[in-house]
């Protein structure tokens, strides 16, 4: 068909034709009949991610065109597709021009940073020795960009400064709601460099799932107590809703906003011990935040590196989502650690054109790449041959360098391995490259690895004994048993890690007996963030952790068989739900991949019933009955036991995790509460409902803001007025003593007016009316004010540098209290500090000498000048150490909910400095410093 001659009507007609064909093949002819240009792909036609890919391929074939990749996941109606097709013609899109090429590194990777203790050290070292080496080739639609170590380090540093400027404090959490893009990497390390803890969550994908999305994420972010949310512009509406529903959240922002401002190198902040909170996409229960420290991650990365025998010439590829452990740790951070260049494409890019993944592998000559089982399945089944034949830039698809093809993240199916190896052998893929391994977020990411360069080992076992007794009896090789269950070997635990398989009583089981998989080792999490109960449930006293999975040992390797909670116990047999689901999937009319099998306890009989929930597009009564019968038969044939209940539901009724796994437990809860059939509402209704639901929160937040604004303005006004007016009078006072007294009264008044409380202890040690030197640390900018308000006697201030951090009016009030310059001509003008303090002490004043350090410096790290000590020694005046605490919270902008802040002034016992010589002075200083440190550390 000649593209430019096509009319709009023709395109629409043909588009609908393609839809009808597909729907008919998918077993929902009724949907096909009722289709219109405005039918919803989700609600009316029930087309999920995979069907959309199919649709894309077919429409491209029919119209000889290429679509933008987002269209596959974003199009809502057939008319969206038609528009995309017409747009494509207008812009004359043929094969797109590839402007971006992945350039091979010129150098081998440097040796790994074995001594690094944090990810920050790792990045810093790579930026030190190989600043310009390309770390990430980030593939975008038709272009791409290179990110070097130096670039990543520098942008991350500016993000860190942005977070610090907005008030992020050490060990606070920051949520990352970003798709795969350069911002993600900058933000992740920016948070680490600022001393915070990144909490990656998955970004909202499709508008019609907003409601469930927000509900789930709000749960996570509340549990994580996040202070900031870093998102992107397109999801403003959602981040705004989240902002009002999460009490701890200070602001929702973007990387671009955070990067504004100076680039000043990396900030000097101690990194948090925790490197990441990984909220499990696990299908059971409320989200749990797996706490992963830098040590956990590095141990795991080093373990994987050992297992795959990483080489300095390796090259990686990943399309895995970065908010998930496999994409974050197993792919990106792993490659960062070993300085392996990694090509990253977005999950969306992969889902809409799986062949892009293979081309990325081929173009980058990749040697390492992980993916879950379904990705291999998708490639084996869905990619048209034409997409594999030569690229626009010339050259054949070449998978021969690919030496480690990790298959993990979900159960590994032997059939998938066979299909994939068979189809891609002619492109150079070796079956020996498959590395089917096992891991879980609680063990950072990986736990068990088989040896590399080995064909996957597949264990065929007898169904009867396995289901009834949990014994894995191998089927003799010579006999073919169609009912046999097959499992893939997952190898041995990583070095330093241990796995044991135990029965329900906690006793070790024999080889080839299924039991619960427990593990321990350096990658193991210390527990779930803020969830002691859930942590206690999976930890044993000996430091073992329950993986929640079932497995058996055979031939020195582990074979993981499934999730324990998902296991259905029926008539004394243990049934693996995947088995039931795969039997159901073969029934015509059932949506593949949208089936959940689970056990549901029947309250009446007390026994567990096997329930199969399956999505179907069929709506006619007859079709439904036919499919139900077929499912019962199919399961019975395969497993020898029929399901008690088959529930057929419309598409998108079964909840899934962010990575597309079935949430069986939630399906069970929905089933038991009878809510399974609730349909999806249009996006705007969802948004509206969310807004209304959050109206209360929103109002509360605004009121709180308004209240704190009023309070702040009042406090500032009261403080400034008091200080300005008193300042005038202080200056008019005839003598220094009277001036100091007045300033003292004014300080008390200011604190009283603004409702600030100061706790004072031990002031009886201060000699009244006699010369004395008070030495204090710097806790906050307002130290002079707090001290003036709380001490019994008026005092002068030794050094004017303490005034520089005060607000203008306060500086005005306190300026007359600084010891006077000497009335003499000479150099330096007004005499040295030592001479001035000596003079003032001689006239009988009490003098406060603050540490010469910025506010907030701990006393052990503050410098104390010897001048006041020397003056006190010569005048035989006592020195009184004063510890200040919490003065930074007086009028502080940051207020943590609960407990009014109050400053503390703690006065210690008198110290008499020694008089003989220079060294005695420094020794006295040490004694004073120690006294102040003790005061500041004193328990209440």
């Amino acid at each position: 068909m000649a593209p430019n001659e096509v009319g709009e009507g023709t395109v629409e007609k043909q588009t609908l034709e393609v839809f009808r064909e597909l729907l008919a093949e998918l077993g929902s002819p009724r949907a096909a009949e009722g289709i219109s240009m405005n039918s919803s792909l989700d609600r009316d036609l029930g087309l999920g991610s995979l069907e959309r890919v199919e649709l894309l391929v077919r429409l491209e074939f029919r119209f000889h065109t290429r679509f933008r990749e987002e269209i596959a996941q974003q199009a809502e109606t057939p008319s969206d597709w038609a528009r995309a097709i017409l747009d494509g013609y207008k812009s004359g899109s043929d094969a797109p021009k590839r402007g971006y090429r992945i350039v091979q590194p010129t150098r081998e990777a440097p040796p790994p940073p074995d001594s690094a203790r944090t990810l920050i050290e790792v990045l810093r070292r790579q930026a030190e020795i190989e600043p310009e080496r390309v770390h990430i080739h980030l593939l975008e639609e038709d272009s791409g960009q290179d990110i070097s170590y130096r670039q990543l380090f520098e942008t991350a540093s500016s993000v860190a400064w942005g977070l610090l400027a907005r008030g992020l404090r050490p060990n606070e959490t920051v949520a990352l709601m970003l798709p795969t893009c350069a911002d993600f990497f900058d933000a992740y390390f920016g948070i680490l460099l600022a001393g915070g803890i990144p909490v990656p969550i998955y970004p909202p994908a499709r508008p019609n799932q907003f409601e469930e999305y927000v509900r789930r994420q709000v749960g996570i972010l509340r549990n994580a107590e996040v202070r900031f949310l870093i998102s992107f512009d397109r999801v403003k509406a959602i981040s705004e809703i989240m902002r009002v529903s999460i009490p701890s959240l200070v602001a929702a922002t973007t990387v671009a906003a955070l990067r504004e401002g100076a680039s000043r190198g990396a900030p000097a902040v101690e990194p948090a011990e925790i490197a990441t909170l990984q909220y499990t996409s696990g299908s059971t229960g409320d989200p749990k935040g797996v706490v992963l420290t830098h040590a956990n991650l590095l141990a795991n990365i080093r373990g994987i590196g050992w297992a795959v025998k990483v080489r300095p010439t390796d090259i990686g590829v990943s399309w895995l989502p970065l908010y998930h452990d496999m994409g974050l740790i197993g792919s990106w951070l792993f490659c960062l650690y070993y300085a392996v260049p990694i090509t990253i494409l977005s999950p969306l890019a992969f889902l809409s054109r799986p062949e892009r993944w293979l081309w990325a592998l081929s173009n980058s000559k990749s040697t390492l790449c992980p993916a879950p089982n379904f990705a291999y399945e998708l490639c084996a089944r869905k990619i048209p041959d034409s997409a594999l034949e030569g690229s626009a830039g010339g050259g054949q698809l070449d998978l021969s360098p690919w030496r480690v093809a990790i298959n993990a993240g979900e159960p590994v199916l032997p059939d998938t391995l066979a299909h994939f190896a068979q189809r891609f052998a002619k492109y150079g893929f070796h079956a020996e490259s498959f590395v089917p391994c096992y891991g879980l977020a609680e063990s950072s990411v990986a736990l068990a690895f088989p040896p590399t360069n080995r064909r996957p080992v597949i264990d065929s076992i007898r169904r009867q004994e396995f289901q009834s007794e949990g014994r894995a009896i191998p089927v003799p090789r010579t006999r073919h048993d169609p009912k046999a269950i097959r499992f893939v070997a997952n190898g041995k635990p990583l070095p330093g890690h241990e796995i044991r398989i135990v029965d329900e009583e906690g006793e070790l089981v024999d080889e080839r007996v299924q039991g619960r998989l427990f593990f321990r080792g350096p990658s193991m999490t210390s527990g779930y963030y803020g969830n002691l109960k859930a942590t206690a449930e999976i930890m044993t006293e000996e430091g073992w952790m329950d993986s929640g999975d079932l497995a058996y040992w055979a031939k020195g390797e582990i074979f993981v068989t499934g999730r324990r909670k998902d296991c259905i116990i029926k008539s004394g047999r243990n049934i693996v739900p995947q088995e039931v689901e795969s039997a159901t999937a073969d029934v015509a009319g059932v949506r593949r991949g949208c089936i959940a099998a689970f056990g549901s306890v029947d309250a009446a009989t007390g026994t567990e019933r096997m329930v199969v929930v399956a999505e179907t597009r069929a709506t006619a009564r007859n079709d439904i009955l036919r499919i139900e019968a077929a499912v019962v038969k199919g399961v019975d044939d395969r497993l020898g036991i029929p399901p008690d209940k088959v529930v057929l539901v419309p598409p998108h009724s079964i909840p899934k995790t962010s990575s597309g796994k079935i949430r069986r437990n939630e399906t069970r809860i929905l089933y038991e509460s009878g809510q399974l059939r609730a349909g999806k509402r249009p996006p705007w209704v969802q948004l509206l409902r969310l807004w209304l639901g959050n109206l209360g929160n929103w109002t509360r937040l605004k009121v709180r803001h308004a209240a704190s604004w009023i309070r702040r303005e009042y406090q500032n006004a009261a403080l400034s007025m008091t200080a300005a007016v008193s300042g005038l009078f202080v200056r008019l006072m005839p003598g220094k003593k009277a001036a100091a007294r007045l300033a003292q009264i004014a300080s008390r008044l200011a604190l009283a007016l603004t409702g600030q409380r100061v706790k004072v202890m031990g002031t009886e040690a201060i000699p009244l009316g006699k010369p004395a030197v008070l030495m204090a640390n710097r806790a906050g900018a307002l130290d002079p004010l707090v001290l003036a308000a709380s001490l019994p006697a008026p005092f002068l201030i030794a050094d004017s540098s303490v005034l520089s951090k005060l607000p203008r009016e306060l500086r005005f009030m306190f300026r007359p209290l600084v010891v006077q310059p000497l009335q003499r001509n000479g150099v330096p003008p007004g005499g040295t500090l030592r001479e001035r303090v000596r003079e003032a002490l001689g006239s009988g004043f009490a003098i406060v000498a603050f540490a010469d350090a910025p506010p907030g410096t701990p006393p052990q790290a503050s410098g104390f000048r010897l001048d006041a000590i020397d003056a006190a020694a010569r005048a035989s005046a006592p020195i009184v150490p004063v510890g200040l605490r919490g003065t930074e919270s007086v009028f502080g902008a940051h207020r943590h909910p609960g407990g009014a802040p109050h400053a503390e002034v703690l006065v210690g016992g008198v110290i008499r400095p020694e008089v003989n010589g220079h060294r005695a002075l420094t020794e006295s200083r040490q004694r004073i410093r120690e006294a102040i440190v003790r005061l500041c550390e004193k328990e209440n």
């Binding site: 100076a262 990396a266 010469d852 790290a861 503050s862 410098g863 000048r865």
Partner: protein, 546 residues
């Protein structure tokens, strides 16, 4: 009381770094004030085809500050006096055993009382291996040499090893295990030996990988490889890349512990090597910013662009907006006071009465704050009409482009305020250049006159742009730590030392920063010295290198 003349009469001295700014003044002070010294050994690196000995007599003794002293001393004590009392050793602190052969080391054993190590690389961001060679390996070799010769060691370091700091830096802070972000004495995360080993390994790696790249040359095709030009181009590219990687490595290592530059980081490593050395009697002298002479050899003597030079040049250039804190004191010490202090410390060390650490600052007794200082300098610039010579067009253009009248008062702004204005200036210059270029093209096409005068204009604009970017660079890269942080270096030990020497010595080697009239010093010594002794190009080169 320690009698310095007596101590030096009994002990021979060994000096490194004599050809530096400080080294020359130190040598001059010794020759002039204590000509009765026993013997002086000087380590000089042969360079530019000159033997060490010739280099010393021509470059060092022939330099402006030393010529009058040498003349005086030869007149008083005869022609051969210097050749008899001074032995020049050809060597290099970067080499093991200071590059001396075994017989030389044998001859020196037991003769030298104290080694004064004032050699060092004062470049702020050099390739880290160069910095290590002088400031780390050099110190290791000097320590080994001093121990072998049975001598004590006076080492010249810098106050800024403390890293970014706001407030007082105490002299009692332990040297070993120090890094700027240290959280207290129980924080032992920094170990200098480990750090040195680690960085040396990284340096080796970088060199190796660059060698591998060169020998493998995977980027060159056969045709390119045959032509020599392409090959040498690639070679140059690699060595430049190699240097850049080494510079980055230094920056990163320094920054990761909290030092502001590679210089202070390696200097601190050097100090820690000395502090960790067993059975070595030592004193470390840490001057703050060493600037022009107060009295000796003559007021205003200065050499090489020093740290405060760009500050002076920018102020004299008529800079009005300063991104600095007014109340920050500038920690400057005149070079002759530093030389006095070093001789004093050496004598006390030989007399076993010294402390371990001496900071040489002035702000703890006699601070000069940046606010008054900058105003003073800018007043000078107005008085001298410094910026009016022979470029009348430029101030006019500047005024038009920046919108700031050049006779306005000095203002203190934050760096954040200044940045957009600077960017705007650069953008305006760029735009003006574009317009000029376009006009020139149009004139050329239309064959109208005036292209040549416009060419002159665009040169002026380019110069202006370069000047502005020089200013930006200076402000961005190097002044921050001097100007943004309020450093006060406690200098109690040197004051105590001054009290320990005899009345007569106090006149010969004075330490009296409390008596400096800063206004007079800056106007009459520092500014004049810079104008007289430093070519603006040198200063500029120096800053760009920084």
């Amino acid at each position: 009381m320690t009698d310095i003349a007596e101590v030096f009469h009994q002990n021979e001295l060994f000096l490194t770094g004599a050809n530096g700014f400080l080294g020359k003044v130190l040598l001059g002070t010794l020759l002039d004030r204590y000509p009765g010294f026993a013997h002086l050994h000087i380590l000089v690196r042969p360079r530019r085809g000159l033997l060490a000995c010739d280099r010393f007599f021509s470059e060092v003794l022939g330099s402006p500050p030393l010529v009058p002293i040498v003349e005086k001393i030869t007149a008083q004590r005869g022609k051969d006096f210097l050749r008899e009392k001074i032995t020049v050793w050809s060597g290099d602190v970067g080499e093991p055993n200071l590059g001396l052969d075994a017989s030389a080391a044998e001859r020196l054993r037991g003769r030298v009382g104290a080694v004064i190590n004032s050699a060092g690389l004062v470049e702020f961001f050099p390739p880290v291996d160069a910095s290590f060679r002088s400031n780390v390996d050099g110190v290791e070799h000097v320590v080994a040499f001093a121990k072998g010769a049975g001598a004590k060691l006076v080492h010249v370091s810098t106050c800024y090893v403390c890293g970014t700091r706001d407030g007082l830096v105490e002299e009692t802070e332990p040297i070993l295990g120090f890094y700027p972000r240290r959280k207290g004495l129980e924080d032992t995360s920094f170990n200098h030996a480990e750090e040195i080993r680690y960085v040396r390994a990284l340096i080796r790696q970088i060199h190796d990988s660059s060698l591998r790249l060169r020998s493998g040359s995977p980027t060159l095709t056969g045709a390119e490889a045959r032509t020599g030009v392409a090959a040498s181009g690639a070679e140059n590219g690699t060595s430049r890349e190699l240097a850049e990687r080494l510079v980055t490595l230094g920056k990163h290592r320094a920054a990761s512990w909290g030092w502001v530059n590679t210089y202070t980081y390696t200097k601190s490593l050097g100090e820690q090597i000395i502090a960790a050395a067993e059975s070595l009697d030592y004193a470390i002298v840490r001057p703050a910013i060493v600037e022009s002479a107060l009295r000796f050899p003559f007021p205003g003597w200065i050499e090489g662009g020093r740290t405060a030079t760009p500050l002076v040049l920018m102020a004299l250039d008529g800079m009005k907006e300063w991104p600095v804190r007014e109340d920050t004191p500038l920690e400057v010490v005149p070079v002759d006071l530093v030389a006095s202090a070093i001789l004093m410390v050496t004598a006390l060390l030989l007399d076993s009465r010294s402390e371990r650490l001496y900071q040489l600052g002035s702000a703890d007794v006699n601070p000069i704050h940046l606010g008054p200082l900058v105003s003073l300098l800018s007043e000078q610039s107005r008085k001298r009409e410094y910026n009016n010579h022979a470029r009348t067009a430029v101030p006019y253009v500047v005024r038009k482009l920046t919108g700031a009248p050049s006779d306005s008062r000095v203002r203190f702004v934050t760096a954040e305020e200044l940045r957009p204005r600077r960017e705007r200036l650069q953008k305006r210059i760029g735009r003006a250049e574009d317009i000029l270029a376009a006009t020139r093209r149009m004139l050329a096409v239309a064959r109208l006159p005036g292209t040549s005068s416009l060419a002159g204009w665009s040169t002026t604009l380019r110069t202006l742009g370069l000047q502005a970017s020089f200013r930006d660079q200076t402000l961005d890269q190097y002044l921050p730590f001097v100007l943004h942080y309020r450093y006060i270096f406690e200098s109690e030990n040197i004051r105590a030392a001054f009290a320990l020497i005899s009345e007569n010595d106090r006149k010969l080697v004075p330490w009296d920063p409390e008596r400096i009239e800063w206004k007079d010093y800056w106007v009459n010594h520092q500014v004049r010295g810079i104008q007289k002794w430093i070519q603006p190009e040198t200063a500029r080169n120096w800053t760009v290198r920084v």
